[in-house]
Subunit: 188 residues, 2 copies
Amino acid sequence: MPCPIARSLERVGEWWGILILRDAFYGLTRFDEFQKSLAIAPNMLTRRLNALVEAGLLRRRRYSNRPPRYEYVMTERGRDFRPVMQALLAWGNRHFAPEGPSVVIANRETGETADPVLIDRISGRPMNDAVFRIAPGPAANERVLNKLAAANRALENAVPAAAVPTDGKAAVAITRQVASSTRARRAC
Amino acid sequence: MPCPIARSLERVGEWWGILILRDAFYGLTRFDEFQKSLAIAPNMLTRRLNALVEAGLLRRRRYSNRPPRYEYVMTERGRDFRPVMQALLAWGNRHFAPEGPSVVIANRETGETADPVLIDRISGRPMNDAVFRIAPGPAANERVLNKLAAANRALENAVPAAAVPTDGKAAVAITRQVASSTRARRAC
């Protein structure tokens, strides 16, 4: 599957894979530390740790020779996953913390809570700017090309997200407009 | 579970939930469009779409009265998930596209490929700067406080990630150093 999102997900697996990586970012390295933190069945933890090692996100490092004992430390690829985790944390705090955040990312120098925002390093613009669109890369095959062409037609025709109203009457008008543009896309 | 990462994951579920959101970002809205794109069993797709609606990431919108037909459109909460998806895409392209990227995010005005980077809106610093640490928020309970205190001790004691060598001799020395700091953390 050439989609980079799907390929990434294959590597972190589901839920547990990401929570293990979260704990690794918190500094945990040992099997029993992960187990205590996650309250996960040992066979499940073993399987997830092995998958993360196989995917190159963690590596096993021996910390005792007699008896031989290993811990799990982040690779460069694992550390590169940090922005995904931080974006996930910010999203969780924004939408699923009605009682206020339990965990934040703080600037140790100023004590202020960070407000993570994704920008484009090249242009400096925020990545939610409408100027950014999914596009085929150099290795795109025909299936990807077709999918992205349809996707971009859909986005061109769609009502701008922010303009979708929540009240009744206007919604009906816009729903019709969207419905007709969706039919047009299908006919392509 | 007060962890904002865990709470977020509960909402997007696993693999399929995120791939459905990806397709929604691409502009897909209808059941058969998602099914065609994902090659997913209908009962599984129904379950995942309902979960995303229940979590407030998608909402059902009627696009036909006779017969009644619905499509699935992004809510504000769903659209806010975009940075997570974009960070996941960038990570996938960096680490799992040996043949070159199939899909990129392009700037429509310049034609350049975007390079998404997470920064702190307050200070302007990149979020992978060592100045940023996980910290308890206003709603942290005792369990969170204990976990974060241990995590920060571990990170204080740890060898800086970038300094971990890959060659044999130095690695042994550092492994010893890390092992002893880990023991110290346990004794706390």
